[in-house]
């Protein structure tokens, strides 16, 4: 079953002068937790700016729940939450005051805004610190406060820009757990990061982007299944096996007696048949699960 598409970018190009931030970028983002992965400068923040309607695409269309964002971004922003990467909160005000103010700015009545602020600050673990000025918060607490203001108005989709940036391992783990819980609460997440482990840990869908172009998009499990590495030991016949595999369209490389093939289930069948057809002695065959980093490097490398 195909998940419902919440956000759709169709042939989106965004140029700033001579610099092209996004280049004919098309992707569907389903409901749920999605990771937007790419190196610094890949176009992740530009994508967020286009989704929020803060910037307009040079070409193409960005639509949220079927509505063109560029045509009228105001009602769409009321359904979105946004957590920027950098510090963005007034340091001389309390967390409760800041979060309640942003709830009001999202259209909630004053009383409901204060109640929601109290609830979400409790949820992110800042209940005891909510009346302290944000200027006295640690980096981890500020990240939590930023997350609280992003979800205080109960958005359908929350855009998280590098939510674990600057956090220590414990803080990072707690932030990822919080993000994973948002999915349980029915809030969809689009999380930009260059840390593939973060995405692998919490996201069910991945969008990989490089230099403003789509590398690959798909369910995390499918991408991981497609990115396994098969290690084969055929003794002194390794070069022969590599040649035979390449003739069948399977990329392989040898390292002494070991041959490594990056392949999926279908490729595994070809490897087996090739060894059989060539009459090679098979001493060892093992598979190892791929990481998203393997998938990114292979796909981005293949594209370039």
């Amino acid at each position: 079953m195909t998940a419902e598409v919440l956000l759709r970018l169709e042939h989106v190009t965004k140029r700033y002068g001579s610099f092209t931030a996004l280049d004919d970028f098309s992707v569907d983002v389903p409901r749920g937790l999605t990771g937007l992965v790419g190196a610094n400068g890949a176009g992740k923040t530009t994508t967020f700016r286009l989704v929020l309607g803060i910037a307009r695409p040079t070409a193409g269309t960005v639509s949220f729940a079927g509505h063109d964002v560029a045509a009228d971004p105001i009602p769409i922003r009321a359904r979105l939450g946004y957590m920027p990467e950098h510090d963005c909160l007034p340091l001389d005000q309390s967390a409760a005051d800041v979060v309640a103010t942003f709830a009001e700015l999202s259209g909630l009545p004053s009383r409901a805004a204060r109640q929601r602020a109290s609830d979400v600050l409790d949820l992110v673990g800042l209940d005891e610190a909510r009346f302290r000025p944000i200027g006295g918060f640690s980096t981890g607490m500020r990240q939590r406060a930023k997350l609280a203001q992003a979800i205080v108005a109960d958005p359908e989709l929350v855009l998280l820009d590098e939510p674990t940036a600057g956090l220590d391992p414990m803080g990072r783990e707690e932030m990822l757990q919080l993000i994973a819980r948002l999915g349980e609460f029915g809030i969809s997440v689009l999380m930009s990061t260059h840390l593939l482990d973060d995405v692998q840990q919490v996201c069910s869908h991945v969008v990989m982007i490089d230099s403003g172009r789509l590398v690959v998009s798909g369910a995390t499990t499918e991408l991981l299944d497609s990115g396994g590495v098969v290690t084969i030991d055929v003794g002194t016949d390794s070069e022969r096996l590599v040649g035979a595999l390449r003739q069948r369209g399977v990329e392989a490389r040898s390292d002494g007696s070991i041959v490594e093939v990056a392949t999926d289930e279908a490729g595994l069948d070809i490897v087996r048949d090739t060894i059989d057809d060539e009459g090679l002695s098979l001493f060892r065959l093992s598979t190892s699960a791929a990481s998203l980093a393997d998938v990114f490097v292979r796909r981005a490398g293949g594209d370039s």
Binding site: L52, I54, I74, P75, R77, A78, L80, G81, Y82, P84, H86, D87, C88, L89, P90, L91, D92, Q93, S94, D97, T101, F102, E104, L105, S106, G107, L108, P109, S110, A112, R116, D119, D122, L123, Q149, A153, D154, R181, E184, F185, G186
Partner: protein, 208 residues
């Protein structure tokens, strides 16, 4: 189950199902937040100090005027006024001081602390932001200029020989003063926002 045992409840997350205002509600919320910020509400006493000391200073002439009227009410001497309603409207140097304190505090931190991206992620346009900031400063200036006038009028009314006569003699100030104060407040607010928007440093904006 042991009913006396304590229990920890994970209250989880409650979706919001109440009413949501549109763009207008967001603009009004920004006006309120800016007024709160400028007057130091929900902040430390240091942030409240400057605006309310200024309010006290601009109220002093009204208090003195009414006080003299009260002391001399039965002495038979002619009424003595140290400041007229017209003069009070023209206390523009004090208003400028207000603008120098209030406008930078309302505008500059949004830029210096990078709050603008969060504000513009809400249902607001760029023009709404400017409108809300001008509205907030103008509201404060109007209130701080008009309150002493009210004090002056009510005080003079109470210490005058004939309250009804004083009221009818000075009825025109009831519309002239609010209009004059409103126009002046709006003028200074636009000026203050324009200057404060040129820098993210409060001290420089205040000097400007």
């Amino acid at each position: 189950m042991n009913s006396s045992a304590g229990a920890v409840y994970d209250r989880g997350y409650r979706p919001y199902e109440g009413t949501r205002g549109g763009r207008k509600a967001s603009v009004l919320a920004l006006v309120r937040a800016s007024i709160r910020r400028a007057l130091g509400f929900r902040r430390s006493w240091r942030q409240k100090f400057a605006p309310f000391v200024l309010l006290g200073i601009v109220t002093i002439p009204a208090i003195i005027n009414v006080g003299i009227g009260y002391v001399t009410r039965d002495s038979g001497v002619d009424r003595f006024e140290i400041i007229s309603y017209r003069d009070y409207v023209g206390v523009s140097s004090t208003l400028l001081l207000f603008v120098a304190i209030v406008a930078p505090d309302v505008i500059c931190p949004d830029r210096r602390q990078h709050v603008l991206p969060l504000i513009f992620a809400r249902p607001l346009r760029g023009s709404d932001y400017v409108l809300a900031k001008v509205g907030a400063i103008a509201t404060i200036l109007f209130a701080f200029s008009f309150l002493p006038q009210v004090l002056l009028f009510v005080g003079n009314l109470l210490v005058s020989d004939g309250a009804l006569d004083y009221f009818t003699d000075n009825a025109s100030v009831l519309w002239k003063v609010p209009v004059a104060v409103a126009v002046l407040a709006l003028y200074y607010a636009v000026l203050g926002v324009a200057i404060a928007s040129l820098t993210d440093r409060r001290i420089i904006a205040g000097a400007g």
